[in-house]
Structure formats: C-alpha cells, structure tokens
C-alpha cells in the first residue's frame, strides 16, 4: 500500500476492494417533503471517469439530488443502484461528500483526518502515510496541529476535501464547495479536485459557477424544477444547450 501512496502522491485509489461501485444509476427517483414534490422522477446514469457538474437555478433540487444519491436522504419513490445493486455499508464506504459549509470537528487539522480514517477502518500503520499525502496535496502540512476551526474559510474547505480524499473514495460528491470563497481559494480547491480526478476519483459537483463548470466538468446535468432538463457533454452544453431553460441560465437570465 505504501508503494501506491508514493506512486500516486496524494491519494490511494480504491484498490483494496475489487470491482467498481460505478455506474451509479437513479431510476424514477422521487422525493417529496411537506406535500411538495421536490425531485420529480429523475433517471440518470453516472459513469466513472468524467467530472459531472450538476447545474441549475436555485431551488431546482441540485443539493437534494446529491443527498439522495449519497444516501443521506431516503427517496420517496424510485431506486438508486450502484453497479446494479442497492447501497449497503460497503458501497457507502466507497463514497464521500463535501458540503457547502465545511463541517470540521473541534479538533486539530490532523485529528480531523485521523478521525475519518479511523471511522473507515483504515489500518493504523497506513494512516500516517495517507495523512501526510493529503495534507501535502491540500498544502496544509504547516497547519497540521492547528485547531481546525481557526483556519480561514478556504483552508477549512481544503481540509474538508482533504479529509474526504484521505478515505480514497471512488466517488466524491461536492455541494458548491467554493460558493463563498475567494478566487485564490477556489483555484487551490479546483487544483485539488483535478488531482483527485487524475487519480481516478469520480467527481459529482453541484455548482452555480458557470466558469467553474467549464473549467472542471466533462459532463453537465442541468436541473430545473426537480427534473433533469438535460444531460450532455460539457462541450456541447456550453456551445449550444438543448433546453430553453439551460440556454436562459447560460445567458444569465432568470430561470423560473
């Protein structure tokens, strides 16, 4: 395992478990709350490889979809299949999620990562190597012993992503990870995500930022009112989006 860590400077691919949990399929996914249908019959397939950006106006259901896929919410109807089977603990352990506002434990930077590795059952002997690798990738080595919650907003989000990546997830969900960050922090985070992608992690990213989607994504899922308006390759989406809503969104008009 240590050789792998050296070969891939910052992330261990999920070589411990044979077989992939991807593709991820959602079939006729419906989520209702308070008598409202917030996710309205979504059918999608997410394959390993391309970075998928989920875009759409506020209230379209992007974050909800991400939580449903990750298993934080139970769908009212429909099913989610990982390589053809429903999620279980083993599947859950191959995923990670980063939230818009990073949730950091009231402990040091290093302890935050140690905690995740411990929960995921990473052998103690291997933890040190993973910790060093992700801290280096996130450029947080010099802050390892600092309390996590005194870091700046950008550093906190880098730590949240580093913690997620330390678990070597096969798929990483990100809910607007740079929404409230300055350009330098956004750049640092996008570089970190590029590295994660290069080492084989599937990224599914909710973003408002058209520029960020252009920079990172190879595939775009455009949502509107709880439905998928279109799922296209990024190049085609930005050149000429098929749906009227997506065209309006890209032109900066308000999409109702």
């Amino acid at each position: 395992m240590h050789d792998v860590v050296r070969a891939v400077p910052f992330l261990l691919p999920s070589v411990t478990v044979p077989g992939s949990c991807l593709p991820l399929e959602a079939k006729d996914l419906v989520f209702e709350a308070g008598g409202k249908r917030l996710i309205d019959g979504i059918d999608i397939t997410l394959r390993s490889g391309p970075v998928t950006a989920i875009m759409g106006p506020n209230g379209a259901g992007k974050s909800l979809l991400l939580r449903l896929l990750h298993g934080l919410l139970r769908p009212t109807q429909g099913e989610i299949l990982w390589s053809g089977r429903p999620a279980d603990r083993e599947i859950a352990s191959r995923q990670a999620m980063v939230f818009q506002r990073p949730v950091l434990l009231r402990r040091s930077v290093a302890a935050n990562i140690h905690y995740a590795l411990d929960v995921r059952g990473v052998a103690p002997a291997e933890r040190r190597a993973r910790l060093d690798a992700v801290l280096q990738a996130a450029r947080l080595e010099h802050l390892a012993e600092r309390p996590a919650r005194v870091l700046s907003g950008g550093e906190q989000q880098r730590l949240a992503i580093a913690r997620a990546l330390s678990m070597a997830p096969e798929i990483l969900f990100l809910d607007e990870p740079t929404a409230s960050l300055d350009p330098a922090s956004t750049l640092a985070i996008e570089e970190l995500l590029q590295q994660a992608r290069a080492s084989g992690t599937k990224l599914v990213l909710v973003t408002h930022d058209v520029g960020q989607a252009r920079r990172l994504a190879q595939e775009v899922l455009f949502m509107h009112r709880g439905r998928i308006a279109e799922q296209t390759m990024a190049g085609r989406f930005f050149a000429h989006a098929a749906s009227a809503e997506a065209q309006a969104f890209l032109e900066g008009r308000i999409v109702l």
Partner: protein
Amino acid sequence: MQDFAGAFRLAVELITSGDTTLVDIVVLSMRVSLTAVVAACLFGLPIGAAIAVARFPGRGAVIVLLNSLMGLPPVAIGLLLYMILSNAGPLGVMGLLYTPAAMIIAQAVLVTPIIAALTRQVVEDLNTEYDEQLRSLGVKPARAVATLLWDGRYSLLTVALAGFGRAIAEVGAVIIVGGNIAHVTRVMTTAIALETSKGDLALALALGIILVGLSILVNSGVMAFKATAVRAAYA
C-alpha cells in the same frame, strides 16, 4: 437580636484560623458533591446525548419528563431514598443510611436529570451541525454519541458546573439520608441549618461565606477554561 457585625467578625476568625470543625465540614461537602456530580455525569452525559441523537416514538414526552425531573424537590428524593435505605427498606441490609455514601446517592439522583437534560440540549444543537457529515463518513450511532460528547466537552463542562451548583447547595435530601451527624455526615448546608436554629450564627455565617466563595471560585475557573477553548475555536 444578634449582633450581625459580631457574628461576621467571628466567622472571619473561624475561616482564617482554619478551625478543624469548619474544615471537616467543608472537606466532606466537597467530597460528597464532587463524587455525586462525577457519578451523575457518568449516567447523565450518555443518556442526554443518546436522547439528543435518537429518533423514536414518544421522544417528545421523554424530553418533557427529563426537563421536569430537573426540578425534583430534594426533600422528596431524600424521603424516597430514606425509605429504600432504612433497615426496613429493600436496600436496608447495605447499612448505607446516615453515611456519606447515602448522601452521594441522593445528590447524584438529584443531579443526573439536570446533567442529562442540559446535555440533551447541548448535544442536539451540535448534532444539527454534525449530523450529515457524520452520516456521510459512515459513523455508527454509538460512535456519533461519543464524538458529540467529546466535541461538546467545553459546553458540557458548564453543564457539570450547573449540576455541582445544585449538589453543593442542596440541603433537603442530605439532611434526611445523612442525618447531619457531626464529623460523619455534616456538610455545609446541613450545618448552616442546624447552627442557625441553635443560634450560633458565626459558624453558620462562616460556612455561608465559604459556600458563596467556592461557588464564585468554581465558576470563574470554568469561565477561564472556556475562554481558552473559545480562543482555540473549540467551544
């Protein structure tokens, strides 16, 4: 009518001279109440945290009940424990009545609901922040409870302090199960009650001053401790 200034002067003399009766009483008070609070925390912290995290039918009712138990009348608890611990009672054979152990039990029973109810509140607030992240990491419920307790440790210290405040100031329960026996079960509050009724206001006042002083000391200690936690963004 006693001379208040005279009593106060005598009280200060007793404190400064380190009167052995006085010291015995203060030491026993601290021993009983601190032990009771530690015991109450052992039960109250996990109970409160578990209720904060768990979702089950009747949870609302349990919380209402727990909050109501915070106001348990000490004399009622004292009476109940007296009946349990007296020779005729179910635990009479243990011979605990009129011992410090009985007083510790009484105070622990009084303080446990306070610790549990306040812990429930603290942990529930923290859990609104942590819940999704912990579930995303795959943390199991028991581990989540431990994590929330540890990460809420500085706020929970205030909870323990509230419990200590209740224990050290309580008189009704310890006087019933302890019996206020000199050098055995006489604590500050029971001594104050006795000395006042005897008319020895000096000793009562001295104990009163120490009680208030201890309270201020413990509170400022915890405040200072919490301030360092805030600086490290751990609170």
